[in-house]
């Protein structure tokens, strides 16, 4: 018994000491320094070499360290000058000549010039290039239309394409088109991705594996030095932990806030920033076999699904209802007259009756989660319920993302009648060209997994890709959207509204429709 009295006393003393020690910590905690922005990222970056990576997560860092020849004008997806001050496109749309800004240096002190631009594209595209082995460069096909790049003089560079290719400029504005320092690549070789050097508003300081990537202001930035002293990107893969860090003041900004956590941040201590982006969430329908070979059944599915409930209840307002295959973020190419299929279960039932199918049985592929897929399991279940309410008999099969892609991308024939999918692109050409043309059927190497085919759409997309006049392109895309909506090869569901939360100490922050994170104007008090 003596033992117990002793421990009780000791426990009491120990507890009191611990409480005292902990309470003395309170004021020191949860204050990040002013001028230093700490960003909660969703994952560790793969590399800081813009030509070697594919993830939006990595792009968020890269866009602040590098510049491209061109970039998207703030708040839009239209191209404006960046490292190139002007450009000229030949009459036939195959030769692009860029005039480069003078006096710009890379963070490593070497000059930016036409030779540097040539080096960048040669490294990616020319297998003979001495630094091609610093790859692989998975997105280099963005520039596969380039036949040659030449330095005409130190401040002029000329690209010759193998044919007219209208998305070329917006591909240059994509992170794959960012310009890296040739000297840094020569010095670090395959380790360049961990020792990046660009011309951007921030320069690289250090990368502590699994802890942080630190970048600091570049005082000599050609477009004006940034307001922040430094930015720290912290990878926090678990969404709940990311929310907890934001609430406890360990980070100043987090991206991709889970919809269910948004309500936590509706207070004066936080700001929620939202921006719709070039994203479409849709259901691919199998037009080769099964009930969806009939256009009426496809339209019935579009009428049967309550998209408003999906975006407002399942996604808590983090998405908007999609009307067609092109997201409204491509303002110049979007058809404003397009109305989404309304939620009309009676109409859906009538269409099914007209098609002569009472209870079509369908297999529906759902993924557990993946890039741009939002909340696929909950959405899949809601969609199943809506479809069953009008008479469909829906069987869900759920797969992990990589497995899912491995099943869906080669085509739905023999697999399923319907599959979830989402795309985020940088040009209105990309998605329809890769996923709606007859020549984009999976057997020909495209993503048209539902085998949609309409010669009128094929012709419109071919012409829009080669037309050099943007107004003409816009007209063609608008026409395409009307036809595709009528044909209904997909169920058009949602456009993601990207969100971010910042603490009240962060000012001047906006999200871009491109989904890039641009921090050069951000202030932190």
């Amino acid at each position: 018994m003596t033992f117990l009295t002793l421990t009780r006393r000791a426990a009491l003393a120990g507890g009191a000491a611990l409480a005292l020690a902990l309470s003395s910590l309170t004021p020191a905690m949860a204050q990040t320094p002013p001028g230093v922005l700490i960003v909660g990222q969703v994952a560790e970056p793969q590399a800081l070499d813009p030509h070697a990576v594919t993830a939006v997560n990595d792009f968020r860092i890269l866009m602040n360290v590098y510049d491209g020849l061109v970039r998207y004008a703030p708040g839009t997806l239209e191209v404006e000058p960046a490292l190139a001050s002007a450009w000229d496109v030949s009459e036939d749309g195959t030769v692009y000549t860029f005039s480069l800004r003078d006096g710009i240096t890379f963070h490593d002190g070497t000059p930016f010039d036409a030779e540097a631009v040539v080096f960048n594209f040669e490294r990616m595209l020319n297998e003979e290039h001495p630094f091609h082995d610093t790859g692989p460069f998975p997105l280099s096909f963005f520039f596969s239309s380039i036949q040659s790049v030449e330095a005409v003089d130190p401040l002029t560079v000329r690209f010759t394409l193998d044919g007219p290719y209208a998305p070329f400029l917006s591909n240059l504005a994509y992170p794959t088109g960012l310009i890296v320092s040739p000297t840094a690549v020569e010095t670090h070789g395959a380790d360049f991705g961990r020792n990046p050097s660009g011309t951007g508003p921030f320069r690289f300081v250090e990368w502590r594996s699994n802890e942080a990537v630190v970048i600091e202001a570049n005082p000599d930035y050609w477009d004006g030095a940034p307001a922040l002293e430094a930015v720290v990107f912290r990878p926090i893969t678990d969404a709940n932990t990311r929310v907890a860090e934001m609430l406890s003041g360990g980070i100043d900004m987090m991206v991709e806030v889970p919809p269910v956590a948004l309500s936590e941040f509706r207070s004066d201590d936080f700001r929620i920033v939202e921006q719709a982006g070039p994203h479409v969430w849709f259901l691919i329908l199998n037009l080769r076999e099964g009930p969806f070979t009939d256009q009426l059944v496809r339209q019935a599915a579009n009428y049967a699904i309550n998209k408003t409930a999906l975006v407002e209840e399942v996604l808590e307002g983090t998405a908007a209802v999609a009307a067609g295959p092109t997201p409204p973020a491509f303002a110049w190419a979007y058809n404003e007259d397009l109305e989404p299929y309304p939620y009309d279960p009676d109409r859906a039932r009538a269409l099914l009756a007209e098609a002569g199918v009472e209870n079509p049985a369908i297999t529906f592929y759902v993924t557990e989660g993946g890039s741009g897929m939002l909340d696929p399991v909950a959405m899949g279940t809601a969609i199943q319920a809506d479809l069953e309410a009008v008479g469909f008999d829906v069987t869900i099969e759920t797969y992990e993302w990589n497995t899912f892609l491995g099943r869906v991308n080669p085509g739905l024939e023999g697999e399923a009648d319907m599959a979830q999918m989402a795309w985020m692109t940088n040009d209105p050409d990309t998605l329809p060209y890769l996923a709606l043309r007859t020549e984009a059927w999976p057997e020909q190497g495209g993503f048209n997994s539902g085998y949609y085919s309409n010669p009128a759409v094929d012709a419109l997309l071919e012409e829009a890709r080669t037309a050099t006049d943007q107004d003409r392109r816009a007209e063609l895309y608008r026409e395409m959207q009307v036809i595709v909506q009528q044909d209904a090869p997909w169920v058009f569901v949602a456009n993601w509204v990207q969100n971010a939360v910042t603490s009240d100490r962060v000012e001047n922050f906006t999200l871009e429709p491109s989904f890039f994170l641009l921090l050069d104007d951000v202030v932190k008090n």
């Binding site: 560790e44 594996s209 699994n210 990589n402 491995g406």
Partner: protein
């Protein structure tokens, strides 16, 4: 003794060889390939084929395996295509972090578990025994990742006493104090289940011993009750407690995977989870081989130590 150790070390070679075959086969069998994971929605068959060629994944599997094995025997674990750095560097970095976390947790659960077990046994059916049994059962029943989240919510978000995640502060000194503050929550969360198991088993081991004659003799000779329990009984009970500690060390190490994910601890468990999700083949293979080698080595050390302590165990 030297011969025994050598024999054990030699017998580890086929074990590690077998593991290398299994982990290679598993990575080759799971659906989805690295090119698909890298390219995401841009994964056209053409792009996948090109990238696979760049990554050396277009060769026959047998050939891939022997290239990997050959390189590994020369100390080259390859390069993680996802993190862009040598696999061995990454694995060693991460393993340090895991050792700090799992080591602390192990010390915590061994100490707390034994103390709780002894106190329980010494007060069998008393209020202390009932109280400890209740807490211990509660601890065993709560999944550690859930407990971790609740701890973050309480101590980091609401009270703001301790940081929510990470191993080091993003800014400021990287001293022992900073490490302890980051270590407290994950180490506690990780040790709870093992503490419970050790406490339960330590209690029954102690009860067994307390019924024996030499204890009655000690009491009859007028040894102080505290002395009887802590000096005589515990020492005897340790013989059956130590093997339990060995098993629990393994559980703590594997439990670290969940805790590392919840607390964003930069350890090897989280590394493997990320690497598997991204199909970072070389990193998964290298990491698993490394952990397996450590485990085999640890077992040899335990066996050798046991045979040194207890002459009845034949070398």
């Amino acid at each position: 003794m030297t011969r025994y150790i050598l024999r054990r070390l030699l017998s580890a070679i086929p074990v590690l060889f077998g593991i290398s075959v299994i982990v290679f086969a598993i990575m080759a069998l799971i659906p989805g390939d690295p090119a698909l994971a890298i390219l995401g929605s841009f994964a056209t068959p053409e792009n996948v084929a090109r990238l696979n060629a760049d990554l050396g994944l277009d060769k026959p599997l047998i050939q891939q395996y022997f290239i990997w094995l050959g390189n590994m025997l020369q100390g080259d674990f390859g390069r993680s295509f996802n993190l862009n750095r040598p696999v061995l560097d990454e694995v060693l970095d991460r393993f340090n972090a895991t050792l700090v976390l799992a080591g602390t947790s192990f010390v915590l659960c061994a100490f707390l578990g034994i103390v709780a077990g002894v106190v329980s046994a010494a007060n069998q059916y008393g209020w202390a025994d009932k109280g400890i049994t209740f807490v211990v059962l509660l601890g065993i029943s709560i999944p550690s990742f859930f407990l971790g989240m609740m701890m973050i919510l309480t101590f980091a978000v609401n009270l703001r006493w301790l940081p929510a995640s990470g191993m080091w502060p993003i800014y400021g000194e990287r001293d022992l104090w900073a490490l302890l503050r980051h270590l407290t929550l994950p180490a506690l969360a990780l040790s709870v289940v093992a503490t419970g198991v050790i406490a339960r088993l330590a209690r029954s081991a102690m009860l067994e011993v307390l019924r024996q004659d030499f204890i009655r003799t000690a009491r009859a000779k007028g040894v102080h009750e505290r002395g009887v329990i802590w000096r005589h009984a515990l020492r005897a009970a340790m013989v059956s407690i130590i093997p339990i500690l060995g098993i629990q060390a393994g559980f703590v190490l594997s439990g670290a995977v969940y805790i590392e994910v919840v607390f964003q601890w930069p350890g090897i468990g989280r590394m493997l989870v990320d690497a598997i999700l991204r199909r970072d083949i070389l990193l998964v293979q290298g990491g698993v081989i490394f952990v397996a080698a450590c485990y085999v080595l640890f077992n040899i050390v335990v066996d050798v130590a046991q045979s040194l302590l207890d002459p009845r165990i034949k070398t």
